[in-house]
Amino acid sequence: MAINTEKNSYTIAFAVVMVVIVGSLLAFVSSTLKEQISTNERFEKMQNILYAMGVNNNDESSVVFIPTSEVQTQFETYITQQFVIQNGQVTEDPEAYLIDLKREEASENPRLPLFVGEKDGKKFYIVPMRGKGLWDAIWGFVSVDDQKVIQGAYFDHKGETPGLGANIKMRYFMDDFIGESIEKNGAIVGVTVAKGNNDPVNEDKYDNEVDALAGATITGNGLSAMLSTSLKKYESFFNSLSAQ
């Protein structure tokens, strides 16, 4: 090779060219795929919301969503109303499900989305939530009925440890929440993921506790905190339901 790769000028030129090439390659990939990716994310959100109110294709033990080809129509069928709560004001907004909770948390005057679903004549109030796990964000959707009893839950995470914290999205864990009350002595307290609550089969539905996952203490604590703080934000809304 004729080029002297040890020269400083060559090193700097190489670095500059490399950064420009790699930078434009990544920018190109990102901008071409952006639309497709955001559609995928929107469909996923719809699937998650529907999952929480029990609209899914679950088999005996695993989580199966409505296929993406149907999710748009199913979402329009089952989700009858979408609300945004800001400063205690409840307004209807058909695009409330597109609200980015991460951005709202950072704002001084957050908008709280809430979805109302109807299935077989029964009403579901679906609350989206976001919190912190061990490594990164965790989030979820929980549906409750007008008695403040959980009807379904879906949790997901960005980077919890596979096999440990990542199991919050396993069916056996999420199903444990169904039937748990989020209320205790008239106040919204959420549900705590508890170790050693002497109720591993989850027979006591009014203890505000579900059995924790082994090896996932911090993810579990994060999930408990997410449930109580997020649900409390909707306390006045839930109270207005029981007043009706």
Partner: protein, 214 residues
């Protein structure tokens, strides 16, 4: 192997046993501890590393004569990071479900010492074909150990394999559990992965005295 001469075949075979990246070179231990609580995650991680390592080895090998040696580590890092991000974005657009399973591993792949180690030790000094074989071989050696660890940790820790209960139901007390067997929750924690790696190294060295250093 008719397609490959003896030297090339050795590139594929050596890392599986006598020159295994985990048990002999002790590289890539971090991810071997972190994600082997389940067999499925082990397999996925093994395949992802195989893809990235083979591709990255080829790219680095093609550029080996023009990379300035002063910044070669940075160049290697940029190549592996760019490769991983492009793959991740493409998966997000066209195979969303798969990308959700893999997203956890993206960060772990970029920092995997095996990848940097092979770029530095092999791809910088060899042609693209040999570099490709070396990448496949080393990743296979890595994947093999991950699968062994994942198998034992999932079986003994959760009583399942690939998510299927193989020992019965621990809550309803069927199968082995009816006899009083309990899952060992300790197997789910990272230290047990290190102990299993230790056992594998022990077995390997006692079977092959050539590997013992004096």
């Amino acid at each position: 192997m008719a397609l490959l001469n003896k030297k090339d075949a050795a590139l594929l075979k050596d890392p599986l046993a006598d020159n295994n990246p985990i048990t002999i070179q002790v590289l890539g231990i971090c991810s071997a501890l972190a994600i082997t609580a389940e067999l499925k995650a082990s397999i996925v991680m093994g395949l992802s590393v195989m893809f990235v390592l083979a591709m990255g080895n080829v790219v680095i090998s093609l550029m080996r004569n023009i990379i300035p040696s002063k910044i070669r580590i940075i160049v290697q890092l940029v190549v592996v990071a760019a490769l991983v991000i492009v793959v991740d974005q493409a998966l997000k657009a066209f195979a969303y479900e798969l990308s959700k399973t893999l997203s956890v591993f993206v960060g772990l792949i970029i920092t995997n010492c095996i990848i940097m180690g092979r770029f530095e030790a092999f791809a910088l000094a060899n042609g693209p074909k040999r570099a490709f074989l070396d990448g496949i071989g080393n990743a296979a050696g890595y994947a093999l150990i991950l699968v062994i660890i994942g198998f034992f940790r999932e079986l003994l820790g959760s009583g399942t394999l690939l998510g299927f209960p193989v020992l019965g139901d621990p809550i309803a007390k069927t199968g082995l559990y009816a006899l009083g067997y309990e899952n060992n929750g300790f197997m789910l924690l990272s230290p047990m992965a290190l102990i299993i790696v230790g056992i594998i190294i022990w077995v390997q060295r006692s079977r092959n005295p050539k590997l013992i250093e004096h």
